[in-house]
């Protein structure tokens, strides 16, 4: 499979198994395009989290080829992985906040790892926490926060570095509908700034909130792509904004 402009991720015949167990992902072949918004859906156990693990470079596939940002991730040396991980923003299903750090320090961590000066990170981190409604909980540690609050900290941490690819695993699972909508608006805003977004969700209502989004449906480890939008070359419908400009 060739790799063209605008392709941010390409999976080619990818399979994943844990140990000697049967494959949890089979023959995945798809392309994610820069600046698009994807929803990843499927029943529990369909392999959504396993697919996301491949995307956020926590797992190597058992077979097949993965290209990200123009690089072969299978042969990429281990010491070059951090540079690629810094292009990603990840909202983990279990939040994965550092328990002894405050909300502020958790959100600031990606910036600190990337070498941003303390004087330059205070404002963006504070604004981000304020925006997700945690202005008064900046000094709180995760153990003192509700599930929804922890989820918002995790989302703030994922988007603070303006990633090229945002990967969110059930990001609205623990928040009320209003907050879910707000968070989705934040993802959309990031998307408009050029970030490719992929959101794994069970929430059918969310899918309707982003009209330009593409749906990736996993079923028993295989990807269903009835519209062909995930293939290369894709059969993509123009985005709503593009339709507007054409009109």
């Amino acid at each position: 499979m060739t790799h063209g402009a605008g392709e941010i991720v390409t999976f080619d015949n990818v399979g994943l198994r844990y140990g000697t167990e049967p494959e949890v992902l089979r023959d995945l072949a798809f392309t994610l395009f820069a600046g698009r918004f994807y929803f990843l859906t499927g029943a529990s156990g369909a392999g959504k989290t396993s697919l996301l693990k491949l995307l956020y470079l926590a797992q190597r596939p058992s077979r097949g080829a993965i290209r990200m940002f123009g690089n072969d991730m299978i042969t990429l040396p281990r010491d070059r992985l951090p540079m690629f991980r810094r292009k990603l923003g990840v909202v983990f299903q279990d939040f994965r906040l550092i328990e002894h750090l405050s909300a502020f320090d958790n959100v600031a961590l990606p910036l600190r790892l990337a070498g941003v000066r303390e004087s330059e990170l205070v404002r963006p981190v504070s604004e981000m926490l304020e925006w997700v409604g945690l202005a008064k909980r900046m000094d709180g540690v995760p153990a003192t926060m509700s599930g929804g609050e922890q989820q918002r900290v995790a989302i703030a941490r994922a988007v603070i570095g303006r990633p090229d690819l945002l990967i969110a695993d059930e990001p609205t699972g623990n928040v009320d509908p209003d907050m879910a909508l707000k968070l989705l608006q934040l993802f959309e805003r990031l998307n408009r700034l050029g970030t490719t977004v992929i959101v794994a969700t069970h929430d059918i209502h969310l899918l309707r909130q982003v009209p330009d989004s593409l749906i990736m449906r996993l079923q028993k480890g295989s990807l269903l792509d009835p519209t062909g939008a995930l293939r290369f070359p894709p059969r993509l419908a123009p985005r709503a904004s593009e339709r507007g400009s054409e009109a």
Binding site: A58, P82, M83, R85, I98, H100, L113, P124, V159, G161
Partner: protein
């Protein structure tokens, strides 16, 4: 939720060091918490004492060697006392005429008698024992202007024997060779102890670093997934171990130096013969002061290797 988050900011993305206060919070710790600083303190104290013993023994041997490096003893073995005295005087004349001899002293018979009295009894006439009953060689204490090496001893021996067949030349240092060998063995023992202590310290740090890494594995995984490099993560653990090692090093140095000072005082009070040459010099104290620094470096290196090897097993 209100206001606009600053997600439009363009952020630096580079593999830069992650040190100091930024990194400190990732592995929470309290000063001198846990057994690590105390283990290092004990190791450093023992190392300081072993090193001090090794240095003192070295000084002692060096001092003895310097004192005896040009010293010879000439024995005149002759049963007849009058002939012995005459031969001793002739030997002294021959030696004084030699340019290699800086000075000499014929040991008076009274002095010899006094030296040997504890073994062969007090002097006095008669044939029932004591100094006069045993033909004791005459002794000449010679100090050379050069080193009393084998060639020089052989040359002087040949010169004397040509006129005085009963003359025999010995380097005084030869008498102390077993003592030097014993001192060298003790120095090697001190070195071996230091090596063992360093190995044990490295082992303790290895265990502590592994334990700390295991305790914070979840944090390490998160930092990895957020783009933290192995070096950045290793530095966090290295920093923690370094602080422990520094605290332990200072305590260990204080304890070790106090023990060395007290023991040194006891030996100084003896003020006798070779023992007096075993004092520690200023340079020796500097060497002892450097031991905690070496301990800190060893701990840092061990922690780094331990954590880096553990990280390499992760993706």
């Amino acid at each position: 939720m209100n206001g606009e988050p600053a997600i439009g900011h363009s952020l630096v993305r580079d593999l830069v060091p992650f040190r100091g206060r930024r990194a400190a919070n990732l592995v929470p710790r309290k000063l001198a918490s846990g057994p690590m600083p105390w283990v290092i303190a004990i190791m450093i104290a023992l190392t300081v004492m072993a090193a001090a013993a090794g240095l003192a023994l070295g000084n002692l041997a060096d001092r003895a060697r310097a004192d005896l490096s040009g010293a010879l003893t000439v024995q005149i073995v002759e049963a007849n006392a009058e002939m012995r005295a005459a031969q001793a005087q002739r030997a002294a004349e021959l030696l004084r005429a030699d340019k290699a001899v800086a000075g000499l002293r014929v040991i008076p018979q009274d002095e010899l008698a006094e030296l040997l009295a504890p073994w062969i009894g007090a002097g006095g006439g008669g044939g029932d024992g004591g100094f006069d009953a045993v033909p004791i060689p005459a002794l000449i204490d010679v100090q050379l202007s050069t080193l009393a090496d084998t060639a020089e001893i052989a040359r002087l021996n040949a010169m004397l024997v040509s006129e005085i067949p009963g003359a025999r030349v010995d380097a005084q240092s030869d008498w102390l060779r077993p003592v030097y060998d014993a001192l060298a063995a003790l120095q090697y023992l001190a070195l071996a102890l230091i090596a063992l202590l360093a190995l044990t310290s490295a082992g303790a740090v290895w265990l502590a670093a592994r334990s700390s890494f295991a305790n914070h594995r979840k944090t390490v995984e998160i930092v990895h997934l957020l783009g933290g490099t192995d070096r950045q993560i290793a530095q966090v653990f290295q920093r923690s171990v370094t602080i422990d090692a520094m605290v332990g090093g200072v305590i260990g140095l204080a304890l070790g130096a106090l023990a060395v000072w007290l023991i040194g005082g006891q030996f100084a009070a003896i003020d006798s013969g070779m023992v007096a040459g075993g004092n520690l010099r200023r340079l020796d104290w500097l060497v002892l002061a450097a031991i905690p620094l070496a301990g800190v470096l060893l701990a840092m290196l061990t922690a780094r290797i331990t954590v880096m090897s553990a990280l390499r097993r992760m993706l």
